[in-house]
């Protein structure tokens, strides 16, 4: 895969839409009408792929968002005499605002409760529209005037088809670029594994909010485009049942790619036209179809097509760009904090869980470039202390400073900026993303707006994107996973996934990695490999490590110093050989009868 060619595959969905419109132009006006409406539904399908597929949020509010777009646009034209294009922009703003409100209220929840918040928004919006008779015409509805663009009246089906085709293609292109770029990847990471995402600077709430806003903008836009076609807006056209039927678009089409939204939206919207002879059975057919797809084709139609095509076509492995030499650890960085050689300084940290004193006056220090271990039997408080250091648990007392900065008030996702990354006890790779994408997230440049901009850079294969890919490939090379760069992370073995986690943790050139039971579940040979890998990384890149582990031989041959925890306290500290033979440590592990 050539490095410099723009991401042309992203043009695909937009081109399909233009193609549909082009085909329609050669047909009569009734088919043109149907195709135009189907194209609008393709946009809705795309928007729902973002929200339902990537962000994994169930939304029952699509109907109300569409209503908001339609009503805002129509009222702006009818009452305020705003030109139609301007009202499209207003509809976008209104839709985005609606999506933001839903996200603000709902993203503290997941699953059913989030769906409930969207249901509340949906119902209350429609009720408000229906009750505001003076403004919206209430249940009787309002008439939608024919749009005018630069003085040209859009009144024929042909003109509508052209306008809708262009508008939807543009919006779809934008959404596709976002989905294929870092924004989409980070969104999948955020919804796939929240904790790992936060640890690498991906704000889960921020991304979910962005998903709601982006999809609502697209759906409201669709509503504004549709309004002149249906001529009369009434609130009952945008009810809960409509929202539910729109959910079927990504389900039947495929939830994980924009194509799915296109196929599902377009196909299902055309269905009633095809089912005219059996109009009675329309909804039954629809519902049965959805159940059928959900049971037998879980990925939707796109998954089916992909499997059929992939079984016929063998993928050729990509030509990998030549791997640059492992960069030397930068020497101009200030490796030490004001406290001398201490990079991480933990002082008298305390944590209670009700009556349990999980961490009791624990202190330790990790010098720059050091590999320090933290061992202790189960229930000793290691994990609690570790979670405090990585920001997922609040301490009751004590101080934790990193190169002079206090860590305790920092959110987990701000640690990466300081140069702290971590791995996880239950391996936390982003399974549906490629290894390369996993590592790119490790670069930490994951603020929502930045990621959106980076998506456009990704589309154009700009310098920033190429730089990120090079750095990620280098990291993968140093852990020995370069050949797997484009494989799905979820398909790797456990050992390889742990390596991937490591690659993700080092790509940023952090100063400290927190490793949580890095060899748990690995076979003897894999443990050895990982130990050597860690030593090499430490030597070549000068990264300090704090390792929590149960595997004593591993730890004693990896770490240059150890802290031992028991019952919440640090009971011993020093070189591995010295510490392990201490009676107090032996007693911790083997009990009173231990003979040294």
């Amino acid at each position: 895969m050539s490095d410099r060619r723009p991401d042309l595959a992203a043009l695909g969905p937009a081109l399909l839409i233009i193609l549909c419109a082009a085909v329609g132009l050669r047909l009569d006006s009734y088919p043109q009408y149907v195709i135009a409406v189907a194209i609008i539904s393709m946009l809705v399908g795309t928007a729902l792929v973002v929200l339902v597929g990537l962000a994994r949020c169930i939304t029952l509010a699509s109907g109300s968002i569409m209503a908001i777009g339609a009503y805002v646009s129509t009222l702006a034209v009818a009452q305020l005499r705003v030109p139609y294009l301007g009202t499209l922009a207003l509809a976008i703003l209104a839709g985005g605002a609606g999506g933001w409100v839903i996200a603000f209220l709902g993203t503290r929840f997941r699953g059913h409760n989030l769906a409930m918040v969207t249901l509340v928004f949906q119902s209350v919006s429609i009720i408000l529209i229906r009750e505001s008779r003076w403004l919206t015409g209430g249940a009787e509805g309002i008439h939608v005037p024919a749009p005018e663009i630069f003085g040209l009246a859009i009144a024929t089906d042909r003109a509508f088809l052209i306008m809708i085709g262009i508008a939807v293609a543009v919006m779809t292109l934008i959404v596709t670029i976002l989905v294929r770029g870092p924004f989409g990847k980070n969104l999948q990471a955020a919804s796939g594994n929240e904790i790992a995402a936060e640890a690498f600077g991906v704000s889960v709430r921020g991304y979910l909010t962005a998903a709601f806003v982006v999809s609502s903008i697209a759906i409201a836009f669709a509503g504004a485009l549709l309004a002149p076609r249906v001529r009369i807006l009434d609130p009952d056209s945008f009810g809960v049942l409509e929202s539910i039927f729109m959910l079927a678009y990504p389900i039947v089409g495929g939830m994980h790619a924009v194509w799915g939204g296109l196929i599902g939206g377009g196909g299902l919207r055309i269905l009633p036209e095809l089912l005219r002879p059996v109009a009675d059975y329309q909804e039954l057919f629809f519902a049965t179809l959805v159940i059928f797809v959900v049971m037998f084709f879980p990925g939707g139609l796109t998954e089916l097509i992909r499997r059929v095509v992939a079984s016929k076509v063998k993928p050729t492995p990509p030509a990998l760009a030549p791997v640059p030499a492992v960069p030397a650890a930068p020497t101009d960085r200030d490796e030490t904090g004001p406290g001398g050689h201490e990079l991480l300084l933990v002082e008298s940290v305390d944590k209670h869980f009700d009556a349990l004193h999980a961490v009791n006056d624990a202190s330790l220090r990790v010098p720059a470039r050091a590999i320090h271990g933290l061992i202790g039997p189960n229930g000793a408080g290691k994990t609690s202390l570790f979670n405090i250091l990585s920001g997922f648990l609040a301490a009751d007392a004590g101080r934790v400073t990193f190169a002079g900065t206090s860590l305790l008030e920092l959110r987990p996702r701000d640690r990466i900026r300081l140069g702290i990354t971590r791995t996880f006890q239950n391996v936390a790779v982003f399974g549906q993303l490629s290894c390369l994408d996993n590592v790119i997230i490790g670069l930490g440049r994951n603020a929502v707006l930045h990621a959106m901009g980076a998506s456009f850079d990704h589309f154009a294969r700009g310098a920033a994107t190429r730089g990120a890919q090079r750095a990620a490939l280098a990291a993968l090379e140093s852990v020995g996973l370069a050949a797997q760069a484009y494989s799905r992370a979820g398909s790797l073995s456990l050992g390889d996934q742990r390596r991937l986690e490591l690659a993700r943790a080092i790509v940023y050139h952090p100063r400290l990695i927190l490793l949580d039971e890095p060899v748990s579940g690995l076979a003897e040979s894999e443990t050895e490999d990982l130990r050597e890998l860690l030593l090499r990384i430490n030597a070549e890149r000068g990264i300090a490590m704090l390792v929590v582990e149960h595997n004593i031989p591993f730890v004693s041959r990896l770490c240059r110093s150890l802290s031992v925890m028991g019952g919440g306290r640090i009971v011993a500290e020093g070189k591995p050989a010295d510490v392990i033979s201490l009676p107090v440590v032996q007693q911790l592990y083997f009990g009173e009868q231990a003979t040294s």
């Binding site: 929840f109 409760n113 249901l119 509340v120 809960v240 629809f286 159940i291």
Partner: protein, 292 residues
């Protein structure tokens, strides 16, 4: 003034008891399988329709309806579970939600196709003069609905807490592998949970049929009310379902009377919203273990 309030609160309790029963059906299924059955309303509608068939079409006595219908609907529900839900056991929550939602729609549509009519009226169970308490007229039917729904709910709770299968369901909900090791079969427990949930739905249908008639929008009305009541009470608590249902019914009735009658539906959603904001785990949350 007080008489008025009495009427309003009584109506709230009547519907609240029905909502409670509906919510209980949802809670039973959720407690055992960790999924919400969105087809629950459709099952209740089937129960109501069945009572129309039995009482109006076939002229059987009413008690036959009460006896037969919960079993029949329970069996249908269990059959749906093994046909549709079992293959989806490993799927993510979204897929299961979608499957049950569209199952409900399919059932409703199927009913409409076989009996295309706007409403089927079902006669009241009791004829006879109403009781008068402090100026408030209480019809026999109202009393029956309230008493019947609450009694059924309490019986169900007892079964769940003390019966062997109730224990099995709770064990399975808490720890699937552990429960399997103890000899409980997933398939049987899930089917039983759906059977019980379906039976409750059927009973709800029979009770509600004289009050609202049998129509296709019964299925949406019941699932919405049941779900909202479940969220209010907490989805893992049977007694939460009862409290949630009663609270919802009374809140709807009172606000419709004293705030705005047109916004009745709005109220249940606002109540839901308030509960989500302040106490998202419901009024009676399952005490969860601390995660370390």
């Amino acid at each position: 003034m007080l008489t008025e309030l009495g009427f309003v609160v009584l109506a709230g309790i009547k519907f609240g008891a029905l909502y409670a029963l509906a919510a209980l059906g949802l809670v039973v299924v959720h407690k055992a399988t960790k999924t919400v059955n969105f087809a629950h309303g459709a099952f209740a509608m089937l129960g109501a329709f069945a009572s129309f068939l039995i009482v109006v079409n076939w002229h059987w006595p009413y008690w036959a309806a009460y006896l037969l219908i919960p079993w029949a609907i329970g069996l249908i529900a269990a059959a749906m579970e093994s046909a549709i839900l079992r293959p989806l056991r490993r799927a993510d929550m979204f897929t299961v939600v979608i499957a049950t939602v569209f199952l409900g729609i399919a059932i409703s549509e199927g009913f409409r196709l076989t009996y295309n009519t706007e409403l089927l009226a079902v006669p009241s169970l009791f004829a006879g003069p109403p009781f008068i308490v402090a100026g408030v007229l209480i019809t026999r039917d109202t009393l029956w609905v309230i008493a019947g729904a609450l009694a059924a709910a309490l019986a169900c709770i007892a079964l769940f807490s003390y019966g062997r299968f109730g224990r099995g369901m709770r064990a399975m909900a808490a720890n699937i592998r552990g429960a399997q090791l103890c000899g409980y079969s997933i398939d049987r427990v899930y089917m039983l949970a759906w059977f019980l949930g379906g039976g409750l739905a059927g009973l709800t249908g029979v009770l509600i049929a004289p009050v609202t008639g049998v129509s296709i929008d019964l299925s949406i009305a019941i699932i919405t009310a049941g779900f909202v009541a479940g969220v209010i009470g907490g989805f893992d608590s049977p007694k939460g379902a009862i409290v949630g249902g009663l609270l919802l019914g009374i809140a709807e009735s009172v606000s419709a009377a004293y705030v705005s009658s047109a916004m009745k539906n709005c109220v249940s959603f606002l109540l839901l919203f308030l509960v989500l904001m302040w106490r998202p785990q419901g009024m009676f949350p399952e005490r969860s273990g601390r995660s370390v």
